[in-house]
């Protein structure tokens, strides 16, 4: 008969081993202890940007959208029907057929692709109508093309200008113009608080917060993905520590200056930020936001916060890659992604295709707010090395 001494567990219980390991770890840790003071430099501040909106200005609805919301996918479906077919399908006894027709057939392409994963497949679908766009004169943003009238130039297509919400006289935000009256974008109000994954802004050389020509600004994704703690009141928790992404592609450094308390950064030709939900890819599994000609206009608050606008051109494909996904966006959220895409294509104002002459990017703005934070470099790197940014992303000095 097999016999064991029951309380063998007393001899083999892992506690002593664990305890010993803990002691060793503690001893080793103690030997390697350091005081982390990288962000204690008086003229350097770090901000966690965990609050980012898609930069749609919500004025009076009747002024912004005098003809109401843009058509939903269901409304477009109904409008696409002949009067007789419309009357038939809208009868209560045909409700199931009606639902299936717009929630499945209408949003599915000939190859079985759905309208939100593959809006390009519906570009020539006459049932998808281009949105009217907002009528508002005011928008978030910055003057990206440098013109006063939005006329076409080498890198831009002709477009109308907005007045800036934050005092900028002539700003570009064609993304808002395209989608500002869509129910999906506007229907729930200003509720998009994490349009971008949390990222970091580091400002160095802040010895004068009023007027300063020598500020250096770095923008980093974090190595921690979207791991950002919330405070007890639901706000973004200040003074968290984040590790800078080890991927140089998601790190950018640029020169900036403060004029009358407003910080403006030099244009950044191209910038990428990590997008954690990479499986949402529509045109490929790209796990990053792409921005062109990025500009910042920020204000340092007396309470240690940072608020302002980040303006840029967004490649249309990238917007769909990171922002849209799945059949449910159409069938549940009742949004016609093809109409949206066609509208953005029609209103795109940046980076014309050399062959077609049609613009491939659209001006946009993100309203951001940051709280104080700490950062540490990724393992094996120093802060000074990280701050140099990825090659090619840093613009020449002014």
């Amino acid at each position: 008969m097999m016999r064991f001494f029951v309380p063998l567990r007393l001899a083999v219980r892992p506690v002593p081993v664990i305890g010993l390991l803990v002691a060793v770890v503690l001893a080793l840790s103690a030997a390697g202890t350091r005081s982390f003071g990288a962000n204690r430099e008086g003229s350097t501040r770090v901000f966690l940007i965990a609050n980012s909106d898609h930069g749609f200005h919500y004025g009076k609805f009747e002024e912004d959208c005098p003809k109401g919301f843009e058509a939903t996918v269901e409304e477009e479906f109904v409008q696409s029907l002949s009067p007789a077919e419309r009357e038939r399908l809208l009868k209560p006894e045909n409700a199931k057929e009606y639902g299936n027709a717009w929630k499945n057939d209408f949003i599915t392409g000939p190859g079985g692709e759905n309208v939100c994963n593959n809006p390009k497949s519906f570009v020539n679908d006459p049932r998808r109508r281009t949105y009217r766009g907002v009528s508002s004169k005011v928008a978030y943003g910055l003057n990206l093309d440098g013109t006063t009238d939005g006329r076409a130039a080498a890198k831009t297509c002709a477009h109308a200008k907005f007045e800036g919400v934050n005092g900028e006289p002539l700003v570009d935000n064609q993304l808002y113009r395209a989608l500002g009256c869509s129910k999906l974008s506007r229907g729930t109000g200003a509720s998009t608080h994490q349009y971008l994954d949390p990222f970091l802004i580091e400002l160095r050389g802040l010895d004068d917060l009023k007027n300063n020509d020598h500020v250096e600004m770095s923008i980093y994704s974090t190595a921690d993905g979207d791991l950002s703690l919330k405070a007890a009141d639901g706000s973004d928790l200040a003074y968290q520590t984040f590790t800078i992404t080890p991927n140089p592609r998601w790190r950018t450094t640029v020169k900036a200056r403060i004029v009358d308390g407003v910080l403006m950064a030099d244009p950044i030709p191209m910038m990428h930020l990590h997008w954690v939900m990479s499986t949402w890819g529509t045109f490929g599994q790209v796990s990053e936001h792409e921005f062109r000609d990025v500009r910042f206009r920020l204000t340092l608050g007396p309470d240690g916060t940072l608020t302002g606008v980040m303006a840029n051109y967004r490649p249309l494909d990238n917007i769909y890659t990171v922002g849209y996904c799945c059949k449910g966006t159409a069938s549940t959220a009742n949004n016609d992604c093809a109409s949206e895409y066609n509208t953005m294509l029609a209103m795109a104002d940046g980076y014309p295709d050399p062959v077609t002459g049609k613009c491939t990017m659209i001006s946009a703005a993100q309203v951001i707010a940051g709280v104080p934070a700490f950062l540490v470099p990724p393992q094996g790197e120093t802060l000074s090395a990280v701050r140099t940014g990825r090659p090619g992303s840093t613009t020449a000095s002014r």
Binding site: M2, P7, A30, T33, S35, A231, A232, Y239, T241, F374
Partner: protein, 551 residues
């Protein structure tokens, strides 16, 4: 006419019989104490929930899982919570919980995953009783469950119970689980019973028997049941010799398991049990997150273990040391970098930091603050009572707190000055407020602040003639306070005996502080002195409890 039992479904009938059997075995086990206990039981102390969990993990392994609520311990005035174990009042609900946990544990011990290792033998057939295998199990497991060898009566009763249940259920292992469940609900497992025997060195007097000494040592130093080596020392009688006792005490003190005992002691001494119910106003203290609340006692305990055990440091340095351990959530409260996103990192507050010593930890300043403000009075009271063992009376019933609770203007020093104008309040507040005001640079969540309502905070103070200007100075004053080693000695004796001290023990605790000072304030040395002392290992003298009373 059929009986109700027969009319029940077979499974229910068996369950009822098994329940009755379990209760019967519990009764038998209690009776065994009266009939065959080798010595007279004199006092009983309930195992704490932590001791219960540690014992189960030690005997059966950490993968044996169970959940349940233990009857709460009542902290005596100005004492330790663990002293509540000497108040033997187990509620009916508490008994029910013990029974449920025992059944859950026993079922896992005999399940297919564990039986080969934990049962230790195999029955002739799994569908019938096997008294030989059951006896082997009862003897081997019982020694660790009861913290002493099982008696012949134990063996007989538990094997009979296993046999009867196995017959009814047609399962050897179910029968064994029922017997083990009864053992785990025995008072001899749930309570630490002092067994005494005639003391050959002092004819006519009693001494603790060796197994009771082993239990007392293990529960004090490891916060768990004795291990095999300690029980062997008890069996050989070497715990009754100076050399044998010293050898075991030294072994226990060098074990990594000492950390468990030290953590439990300081959690109790520093009132960490209050953190469970601690809440803060999230709009005032957004940094007081669930993660920070979870981590704040652990920060202090890690700091204590690091200084007093890993580094064998000076106890007094706990009140001045810059070194600690932080998580990201705590870093947000302290506003310092913590590079590890999910774990703990060692951290040294800079020399110019206002934060030094455990009094500046969140676990102290946040715990002893109301939900929406700081409280110099609560902090001062806690420091006096917990760290210096200087009890402060409760406030009279007719105090008007409205003045100090108005946090809209000025500093709390101004408000308390007005409060102390009342002679009825002044006596106690003079003892609490000055030291509490020195911690006002830490808000109600523990974050450093320089101003309150725009007014510069004056953190200067005086502790028994030792003047200082800031929280760091307060820590230094506490470090040098003559009552500091006296209090730790007293608390450790209270923790060791787990009941209120009698007059002799109180006097003994005072003399211990002298030896603690002579040992350069080393905690391990103080624990060694206590553990190896006659005073600690003497029978409890409150009164002799008869076996009938134990039932």
């Amino acid at each position: 006419m059929k009986s109700g039992l027969v009319m029940m479904k077979p499974t229910r009938a068996i369950a009822r019989i098994r329940f009755g059997l379990g209760v019967a075995v519990m009764a038998v086990s209690i009776g065994v104490i009266a009939a065959e206990a080798p010595s007279t039981a004199s006092t009983m102390r309930r195992l704490t929930d932590e001791q219960y969990r540690n014992a189960i993990a030690d005997i059966f392994g950490e993968d044996v899982e169970f959940a349940g609520r233990f009857d709460p311990l009542v902290r005596p005035p100005h004492g330790l919570q663990v002293q509540g174990v000497s108040q033997i009042a187990v509620s009916p609900a508490g008994l029910e919980q013990y029974d449920k946990m025992a059944r859950v544990i026993a079922a896992q011990v005999v399940d297919e995953r564990h039986r080969n290792l934990l049962v230790g033998c195999r029955p002739q057939t799994a569908t019938m009783p096997d008294d030989s295998c059951a006896e082997a199990f009862v003897r081997r497991t019982g020694e660790f469950v009861f913290r002493r060898p099982v008696t012949q009566a134990d063996v007989k009763s538990y094997v009979s119970a296993a046999h009867a249940s196995a017959t009814l259920t047609k399962s050897f292992y179910t029968g064994l689980a029922d017997a083990l469940g009864a053992m785990l609900t025995s008072p001899r497992f749930l309570f630490d019973l002092d067994g005494t025997e005639p003391d050959p060195a002092h004819p006519g007097a009693q001494r603790l028997d060796a197994y009771s000494k082993a239990s007392r040592l293990s529960l004090f130093l490891w916060n768990t049941t004795p291990d095999r080596e300690l029980l062997a020392a008890a069996a050989k009688g070497t715990l009754h010799t100076q050399a044998g006792l010293k050898q075991q005490v030294d072994r226990l003190l060098q074990s990594p398991r000492l950390e468990s005992g030290v953590r439990t002691f300081f959690s109790d001494m520093l009132g960490f049990d209050q953190i469970t119910d601690l809440s803060k106003d999230g709009t005032i203290y957004p940094q007081f997150t669930r993660d920070a609340k979870r981590d704040m006692p652990e920060q202090t305990l890690r700091t204590i273990v690091d200084l007093l055990l890993t580094k064998n440091g000076d106890y007094r340095d706990l009140f001045t040391m810059r070194h600690t351990f932080l998580t990201r959530a705590l870093g947000a409260v302290y506003r310092v970098e913590v590079p590890d996103q999910r774990g703990w990192v060692p951290y040294d507050f800079p020399e110019d930091s206002p934060r030094a010593g455990i009094l500046s930890h969140m676990s102290f300043v946040a715990t002893f603050s109301p939900p929406g403000r700081s409280s110099p009075t609560l902090r001062g009271k806690a420091l006096r009572e917990l760290v210096l063992c200087q009890p402060v009376p409760d406030p009279p019933n007719n105090v008007n707190f409205s003045l100090v609770e108005n946090t809209k203007t000025g500093t709390v020093r101004d408000r308390l000055t007005a409060h102390r104008a009342n002679p009825a309040c002044a006596g106690c507040h003079k003892a609490m407020d000055p030291i509490g005001l020195s911690l006002e640079n830490f808000d109600g969540a523990g974050t450093y602040r320089l101003h309150e309502n725009g007014a510069l905070i004056d953190a200067s103070g005086d502790l028994e003639g030792h003047a200082y200007n800031d929280p760091v100075g307060l820590g230094q004053a506490v470090r040098n306070h003559p009552q500091l080693p006296v209090c730790l000695s007293k608390r450790l004796v209270e923790y060791a005996v787990r009941r209120p001290l009698d007059a002799d023990e109180s006097a003994w605790a005072k003399t211990l502080s002298t030896r603690f000072v002579e040992s350069n304030y080393r905690l391990r040395d103080l624990m060694r002195i206590i553990a190896a002392s006659d005073q600690f290992l003497k029978p409890s003298v409150a009164r002799e409890t008869t076996s009938r009373e134990v039932q």
